[in-house]
């Protein structure tokens, strides 16, 4: 089918490129304000980020967060969203929102989902009645949500699926569904539709898919179907292959990625945008993300540790009282975690801010063209010895000119 040019509601301003790796720093201008790239986007699944108020989320520096279309479609539902005037008004969030298509959630959460050319068939979690999510319906929902970035409905298969024929079918169907999404999209001038490259771990399928998707000229491009338990080497190859074929002047979003190591490596491979529930989910179990790794503050060893969650962290929990912060100690988190919801709120704030700070320092390093050095320092802090560095990261970074072991 002939490519349709669709208007864009964003502008991508490339500010700098790493002279060694494929990392880029940019500014993305979106309908609800400007966001720096590379970026990590926290996930506010049901129009709320794990107990944080919009002001608290804003305070972490977040200017772009996710909502899940599947969840908002169920609750509060399209009629309410229309009545209230979209998700920004619904949750009083003045900054940007990105929504997924709902397809992935459906396939991963509902065992009985079945995919046909028409769309995803599933049984209603409310009453078990058969329902159908089509590309048109997904876009209509996202139009009602009013998110600044919307995603096409895609045919998602676990990357580890051995069925190549099915993988090819899913990839090709995703392209056809993109065309239907473009047709159905009512507000291209204020919502940016991103395509999603599929093709599993097969690099040839990924190349074909990338070519088809790029031809559709959507404002941004996502690499989907990853972070489903595939080997990290294979993940890196897919990202590297896709970014190599993508136009320079468009944002590239790798879906479902959020571990700090994955972020720094994926940026080196040329990706710009990431999201993941892990930092906020793990906070509720007492896990604090730090430059030296994840600490489980439910461990009794922290019950008398009166230092901040992370030394030097600028989040309001970790900053000292003298510095205008709360002066929350690890011992206090130990005291309240899993016992009071506020314990989860505190750690969620820290974890989100950790992720955003990480991206900020990545961006600065790229702009100052010292990203290779940044990568070495990052892994140096995270592990006690080079022998512990994950092989996939060493290999992937070597592929873009950075030798962590030297």
């Amino acid at each position: 089918m002939a490519p349709v040019h669709i208007p864009s509601a964003l502008s991508f301003e490339l500010l700098g490129k790493c002279s060694v790796t494929k990392a880029r720093a940019a500014t993305l201008h979106l309908p609800h304000g400007t966001v720096p790239l590379p970026i990590f986007m926290p996930v506010a699944t049901q129009a709320s980020l794990k107990g944080l108020t919009p002001e608290q989320l804003e305070e972490t520096g977040c200017k772009l967060c996710l909502n899940n279309t599947y969840h908002l479609g169920l609750k509060p539902g399209q009629a309410t969203l229309d009545a209230v005037g979209g998700a920004h008004k619904f949750q009083s969030w003045p900054h940007n929102i990105l929504t997924d298509s709902g397809g992935f959630q459906m396939v991963s959460l509902l065992k009985l989902a079945k995919i046909t050319e028409e769309g995803v068939r599933f049984l209603s979690p409310h009453d078990g009645s058969p329902m159908l999510l089509t590309p048109e319906h997904s876009i209509a929902l996202q139009n009602s949500i009013g998110s600044d970035i919307i995603m096409q409905l895609d045919d998602v298969l676990v990357t580890t699926s051995p069925d190549l024929a099915r993988m090819k079918e899913a990839m090709e169907r995703s392209v056809r569904w993109l065309d239907r999404c473009i047709q159905a999209h009512k507000y291209p001038e204020r919502q940016n539709l991103f395509c999603i490259i599929q093709g599993g771990l097969d690099l040839e399928l990924r190349r074909q898919c990338t070519a088809e998707m790029v031809a559709r000229d959507t404002p941004g491009i996502a690499i989907g179907g990853l972070s489903g338990g595939e080997a990290k080497d294979a993940y890196c190859k897919v990202v590297d292959t896709c970014t190599g074929l993508l136009p320079e002047k468009k944002p590239r979003y790798v879906m479902g990625v959020g571990y700090p190591e994955d972020l720094v490596v994926s940026v080196a491979l040329g990706a710009d945008m990431f999201d993941c529930v892990w930092p906020t989910r793990t906070a509720r179990f007492g896990n604090a993300i730090t430059a030296h790794g994840v600490l489980n503050l439910r461990n009794a060893m922290y019950s008398t540790d009166f230092g901040p969650i992370e030394e030097g962290c600028t989040c309001s929990c970790c900053r000292s009282v003298e510095d205008g912060g709360l002066g929350i100690t690890r011992a206090y988190i130990y005291h309240v975690t899993a016992k009071e919801t506020a314990g989860a709120h505190l750690l969620t704030m820290h974890n989100v801010q950790y992720q955003l700070n990480l991206m900020k320092s990545i961006r600065e390093a790229i702009l100052e063209d010292r990203y290779p050095k940044f990568l070495k320092e990052f892994f140096g802090k995270l592990y006690d010895a080079k022998s512990q560095y994950p092989e996939w990261a060493v290999t992937a970074l070597k592929g873009v000119g950075v030798d962590l072991m030297e």
């Binding site: 709320s48 108020t53 959460l109 529930v277 919801t341």
Partner: protein, 503 residues
């Protein structure tokens, strides 16, 4: 104390001590206005209230939100929330080597008054009976008892602004025999003397805490020895009194009238608060705020009532809105008109209804902020009414306008939290003479099992993101302690729901 009947001795107290000024009083058993001021802390105008805390935090209100929100000022903190490791291990907080240990540990702003007591408000009855030297507590890992000496040492270390003396009250006991009442009075006197003695041992440069002496919820004659001694020997050593039954205030010795009165008489409703204020109570902890919040009820009342309705036949207004109601799903009006809180100025009912039904923690956060704001306004207008001399008639109008009780809970609450959920196995292993514990009734066991089964089912259809950490409290009353389910630890968390961690 600079009130009309100030006692000279109190003026010589060190500057850290509480200054309570009665601004308006009409004698015994009458509402009164006062100003409760601690050096370096924001004053509390009385009648007023303290926010009840759990493990050092106002439930659902993280410390940054506490600071952001003018409805929060003074807090009530229970020692039993901090000493679960005792006696096997030193409770961690005692190892925190900073001035104002408690304040720093719970990250309370430096201008918020802290009142520390032994038990939560309201306390969950402990099957560990009090003895001559020890008081039974309930910590998140089971029942404990602490000695009066231990309590005094803890207070010295934690440095609250005010400590409520230990009281020998057999909570949860329907009727108390005469002999037992005698003992209550004797023990409470001893323990009050203990805490005073402890404060006397402080060095002159040590910050001094103020002491509120408990007044027992028994007849005057049965505690007359204690009250007499309080008046004769301890009047210049105490700075306030803690009332466990507002109706015994008519028996209060006159000498105690100038002292601020903190009520632990659990008010069941706003009407009950008004009655206690009318008897002359100055300060409250208000457990129903939290109960309402956990039930998803946004309080919605003003004082005086919006219109004066004396016609008994007209329908009375509800004191709160059950935010679980599906009919609110598209309602974009605030929880209460004219409420200045963030939940009302920045959000609407539709969102809060959604958050509850999606079991998002923010729902309870916003309702909690709002409920505290409603009580803050309630007290502000109560003081204005007392000042204007219209309190009696305003109460009548309020009672005629509103229903007598808060609405019943219909929806699920947040997951059981530490104090509601305890395991006894940890605490008492290997002990020779285990004290009698309350056993779960069959009903309760079945309710808990059903809950667990329901939890498992939900896992399959609903994103665990939404469910983790938020299991319903059906069948479990906040006031009744329950054992952890077999196989669930102290924290009883649904850890299995989490995805495997890779890092």
């Amino acid at each position: 104390m600079a009130g009309p009947s100030s006692t000279p001795q109190l003026d010589q107290l060190p500057p850290e001590m509480l200054d309570f000024t009665l601004l308006k009083t009409a004698g015994a058993l009458a509402p009164r206005l006062g100003r409760f001021a601690l050096p370096g802390r924001k004053p509390i105008l009385t009648p007023g209230f303290l926010s009840n805390t759990s493990r050092g935090v106002v439930p659902h209100i993280s410390q940054d939100n506490f600071r952001r929100n003018p409805a929060f000022n003074g807090v009530y903190v229970a020692l039993e929330d901090f000493v679960e490791k005792f006696p096997q291990k030193t409770p961690p907080i005692f190892e925190y080597d900073v001035p104002e240990t408690l304040r720093r540990f719970i990250a309370l702003p430096k201008d918020s008054p802290i009142i520390l007591g032994a038990r939560r408000s309201p306390p969950i009855p402990s099957p560990v009976a009090n003895t001559n030297t020890e008081v039974g507590l309930l910590t998140s890992v089971g029942f404990r008892s602490i000695s009066s000496e231990y309590y005094a040492a803890a207070v010295r270390k934690l440095q609250p602004d005010i400590v409520v003396g230990l009281a020998d009250i057999p909570f949860g006991q329907e009727s108390v025999g005469l002999k037992r009442k005698d003992k209550m009075s004797d023990r409470t006197e001893t323990w009050t003397r203990d805490i005073i003695a402890k404060r006397n041992t402080l060095d002159s440069e040590d910050p001094k805490f103020s002491i509120f002496a408990p007044i027992l919820p028994i007849e005057r004659d049965l505690q007359s020895w204690y009250l007499d001694h309080l008046v004769d020997d301890m009047l210049d050593k105490i700075q306030g009194i803690a009332i466990y039954d507002a109706y015994i205030m008519e028996d209060l010795p006159d000498e105690l009238h100038p002292f601020p009165r903190l009520s632990f008489h659990n008010p069941s409703s706003p009407h009950d608060l008004l009655r206690q204020i009318n008897l002359g109570i100055d300060l409250f902890t208000i457990p129903f705020i939290n109960t309402a919040t956990d039930s998803g009820i946004a309080l919605n009342f003003t004082f005086p009532s919006p219109q004066k309705v004396f016609d008994a036949s007209s329908t009375r207004q509800s004191l709160g809105i059950d935010m679980w109601h599906a009919s609110l799903a598209t309602d974009v009006t605030p929880l209460s008109e004219n409420c200045p809180c963030d939940a009302c100025t920045k959000h609407h009912k539709a969102y809060i209804q959604h958050l509850l039904s999606a079991k998002e923690m923010l729902g309870w956060v916003l309702i909690q902020m709002h409920n505290h704001a409603v009580l803050t306004s309630f007290f502000t207008t109560i003081r204005a009414s007392i000042s204007a001399g219209t309190f009696e008639e305003d109460i009548k109008a309020f009672e005629a306008y509103y229903e007598p009780q808060l609405p019943e809970k219909t929806g699920q609450g947040p997951r059981l939290r530490g104090y509601q959920f305890k395991s006894e196995s940890h605490a008492e292993k290997g002990k020779k003479n285990p004290k009698a514990f309350r056993k779960l009734g069959e009903e309760e066991v079945r309710a808990l099992q059903e809950e667990a089964a329901r939890r498992k089912e939900k896992k399959d259809v609903v994103d665990d993101e939404a469910m983790v950490g938020l299991v319903g409290m059906d069948g479990v009353d906040g006031n009744v302690a329950v054992n952890a389910l077999p196989g669930e630890g102290v924290d009883g968390l649904e850890m299995a729901d989490d995805t495997p961690e890779k890092i």
